[in-house]
Amino acid sequence: MIEVRYFAWLRERIGERAEQVDTTAATVADLVDELAARSEGHALAFADLKSLRVALDQQMAGFDAPLAGVREVAFFPPMTGG
């Protein structure tokens, strides 16, 4: 089981802050394919990966990163702090 978390407009499109996902996806990109098939909101949220960022166990990562051993995956738009 992986905890998948969503922030900002991604959270709003999907309608959930977090989901428990039972997956055998090898990489983040594989997981995205699985998630995008869950609902229209998911498909819309993941329509343009260039507008998304991902963190694995709270460290920034790429979409080609492996998921082995990862407990928490977070998806969000580029950060706008400050």
Binding site: Q58, M79, G81, G82
Partner: protein, 145 residues
């Protein structure tokens, strides 16, 4: 080094005085405060963050600043939740033996907090709500470091 991610308001004067009073060995203190701007009739800002990751990201950024500019101390306060126009969103303070290092490190902290700390801003105004999009120039600003 004090780093705080908080919903509550902070007292800019008290924080500045406390920081400046605690930095033995420094000859310069620089402080920066970010305020919610009222552009285009904006009435409030909603700031979301990623608890846990936010603190970790800010610590990594601040530790890099301390190492690169030999700061004697650094302070970062960043708020989340709903903030009205005119309210302070965040502040950074740096202390160093000389002002050049303190100014540079404060700018570095600001540039990195904008693009590398997991905060997202939503503007609330007369026409509704809209997430603030990241700007290319914010990303470009990181290249100078």
């Amino acid at each position: 080094m004090r780093l705080s991610v908080q919903e509550a308001p902070f007292d800019l004067g008290a924080e500045s005085v406390a920081f400046a009073g605690s930095v033995a060995g420094a000859g310069a203190v620089v402080t920066f405060t970010g305020i919610v701007r009222g552009d285009g009739g904006l009435t409030a800002m909603e700031i979301e963050h990623y608890p846990g990751m936010t603190e970790r990201a800010i610590r990594a950024i601040a530790e890099e600043a301390v190492a690169r500019w030999h700061l004697t101390d650094a302070l970062v306060i960043h708020r989340h939740g709903r903030l009205a126009v005119g309210e302070p969103i965040m502040m950074v303070a740096t202390a160093a033996p000389h002002r050049g290092d303190a100014f540079a490190a404060a700018e570095f902290l600001m540039d990195y907090l904008k693009s590398r700390a997991p905060f997202w801003k939503k503007e609330i105004g007369p026409t509704g709500e809209a997430w603030v999009a990241a700007k290319d120039e914010d990303e470009a600003a990181l290249k100078r470091w």
